[in-house]
C-alpha cells in the first residue's frame, strides 16, 4: 500500500513538474521523423511494410526504455543531491516501498511512450494485418526490457556517489547493451555471436520482435530469446527488493542543504 503512495507521489512529480511530458514530446518528434522517412524516402520505402513496422517498434522500445532508465537513474541519487531524500526517509514508509514506488513511477514513462507509439504502428502496419501482433509484441517485450533496465538504473542510482555518475553509468550500460543490435545482419554469425545475443536482454528482446514481425515465425519458436530479459527482471528486481532497504540511504557527504 505504501509503495502505491510513493508511486503516486513520484508520478505527480514526474508528470506534473513537466519532465515527463517533455520527454514524451521529444520521443514523439523522433518517432514522427522516422515514420515520415519510412513513408516518403524512396530508399527506405523499399522496405517491406512489416520491416517498416519493425523498425519503428524497435526505435520506440529503445528510446522508451532509455527514457525510463534516465528517470530511474535519477531516482535515488537525484533525491540525495537535491536534499529531498532525507525528508522522504523520515516519512512512515519503508525503504522497500520507496524503491518499488520509484520503479513503478519510472515505468510510467515507458507505458506512456508505448501509448504514443500506437498510432505510428497503426499507420505503418494497416493493410498487412500485423498491427495487433506488433503492438502485443512491443508491449510484452518492451515491458520486460523496461522493467529489467529500470531496476538496474535504480540499483546504480542507489549506490552511486553522485547523480552525474549514476546517469553516466546507466547510459553506458544501455549503450553497451544496444551496440550489438547495430551489427550488420549479413555478417557471419557463429555460436559465439548467438551466445552473446542470447545473453544480452536488449538485443535478444529486439531479435524476438524481428523474428515474429519480419521473418513471420510462430510466437513459440523463438521464446528462448526472451529468457535473458526475464532473467534480468528476476535478478535486478530481486536485488532491488532484497537490497533496497540497505542501499537506499543518505551518504555522509551529501546530506542536503
Amino acid at each position: 500500500m505504501s509503495a502505491k503512495v510513493v508511486a503516486a507521489q513520484e508520478c505527480r512529480d514526474l508528470w506534473v513538474s513537466g519532465r515527463g511530458p517533455l520527454l514524451l514530446f521529444c520521443f514523439s518528434v523522433l518517432v514522427s521523423a522516422i515514420t515520415y522517412l519510412e513513408a516518403t524516402n524512396r530508399t527506405l520505402n523499399f522496405l517491406e511494410q512489416r520491416e517498416a513496422v519493425n523498425l519503428t517498434l524497435q526505435v520506440a522500445v529503445a528510446v522508451g526504455v532509455l527514457a525510463a532508465l534516465v528517470v530511474s537513474a535519477d531516482g535515488i541519487s537525484g533525491e540525495r543531491e537535491r536534499g529531498t531524500l532525507e525528508s522522504l526517509l523520515l516519512t512512515p514508509v519503508s525503504r522497500r516501498a520507496i524503491v518499488l514506488g520509484k520503479l513503478a513511477a519510472a515505468l510510467t514513462i515507458w507505458f506512456a511512450a508505448f501509448v504514443v507509439t500506437v498510432p505510428y504502428v497503426w499507420v505503418l502496419g494497416r493493410g498487412v494485418s500485423i498491427v495487433v501482433k506488433a503492438l502485443v509484441l512491443g508491449f510484452v517485450t518492451g515491458t520486460l526490457i523496461a522493467v529489467g533496465l529500470t531496476a538496474i538504473g535504480l540499483l546504480i542510482s542507489a549506490v552511486s556517489g553522485s547523480n552525474k555518475a549514476s546517469l553516466a553509468v546507466s547510459l553506458l550500460v544501455l549503450l553497451a547493451l544496444f551496440a550489438p543490435t547495430q551489427l550488420p545482419s549479413g555478417l557471419p554469425q557463429g555460436w559465439f555471436f548467438d551466445v552473446l545475443l542470447r545473453l544480452n536482454p536488449v538485443a535478444s528482446g529486439l531479435h524476438y520482435i524481428s523474428a515474429q514481425l519480419v521473418a513471420g515465425h510462430d510466437w513459440a519458436r523463438d521464446l528462448s530469446y526472451l529468457v535473458s530479459p526475464v532473467v534480468v527482471v528476476i535478478l535486478a528486481g530481486g536485488a532491488l527488493f532484497v537490497a533496497g532497504p540497505r542501499i537506499v540511504r543518505l551518504h555522509g557527504a551529501v546530506s542536503g542543504p
Binding site: 515520415y36 519510412e38 516518403t40 511494410q49 504514443v116 505510428y120
Partner: protein, 168 residues
C-alpha cells in the same frame, strides 16, 4: 609399364567419386515486388551409378536489364552451402532465402563447384525473376499522425509547464 600406368589411372578415375550431375530449382519463374522476401529450393540429385563427391552449391544472380546493377550479397546473405557426398540415386534439397532489392528482370541460378577445386561446374536452369516497383507507404497517409501527435504532446507539455510555474 605404360599399360600398367594407364590401367592404374583408369582405376583411380573410376574409384574417385563423380561430380553431382543434376541441380534444379523448384520454380521456373517468380514475380515479386521490391522488398519482398521469398524462398527458393534447389534439388540436387546424383543420377549416376557412382557416389558423387561433396560439392559447394553457390547461388548467383544476374540482371537482364542493362542499366540495372546487381550486387548478389544484397539479395541473399547466405549464398554458399556445402553439399555432402551423395550416394547413387540420392537427392538432397537446399533452401535459399532471397529478398528482392531492385526493380527489373533477373536470372537466378545455382552452381555446383567441386570441393577439390577441379572438374566441371554444374549449372542449374535459371529462374526468371521479375521485380516490380511498389510504394507501400505514402506521405499523405502518414502525415496527419506524424504532425498531430507531436503537436498535441508539445501543447500538453507546454500547458503542464505553464501550470507548474503558476502554482509555484
Amino acid at each position: 609399364m605404360k599399360t600398367l600406368m594407364v590401367l592404374t589411372g583408369l582405376l583411380l578415375l573410376l574409384a574417385a567419386p563423380a561430380a553431382a550431375a543434376d541441380i534444379t530449382f523448384d520454380k521456373t519463374r517468380i514475380d515479386a515486388v521490391v522488398g519482398q522476401r521469398f524462398t527458393l529450393e534447389t534439388r540436387i540429385s546424383n543420377p549416376g551409378a557412382e557416389p558423387a563427391e561433396a560439392v559447394l552449391a553457390h547461388l548467383n544472380l544476374a540482371s537482364l536489364t542493362s542499366d540495372v546493377y546487381v550486387d548478389p550479397e544484397d539479395w541473399s546473405s547466405e549464398r554458399s552451402q556445402q553439399v555432402d557426398e551423395l550416394e547413387p540415386g540420392e537427392t538432397t534439397t537446399l533452401t535459399w532465402d532471397v529478398q528482392a532489392v531492385t526493380v527489373g528482370s533477373f536470372s537466378v541460378y545455382a552452381v555446383l563447384l567441386p570441393s577439390a577445386g577441379r572438374g566441371p561446374l554444374v549449372v542449374s536452369p535459371p529462374v526468371q525473376l521479375a521485380v516490380a516497383a511498389r510504394q507501400t507507404l505514402s506521405a499523405g497517409g502518414a502525415l496527419p499522425i506524424v504532425l498531430v501527435v507531436p503537436v498535441l504532446l508539445g501543447l500538453g507539455a507546454a500547458a503542464v509547464r505553464y501550470r507548474a510555474r503558476r502554482t509555484r
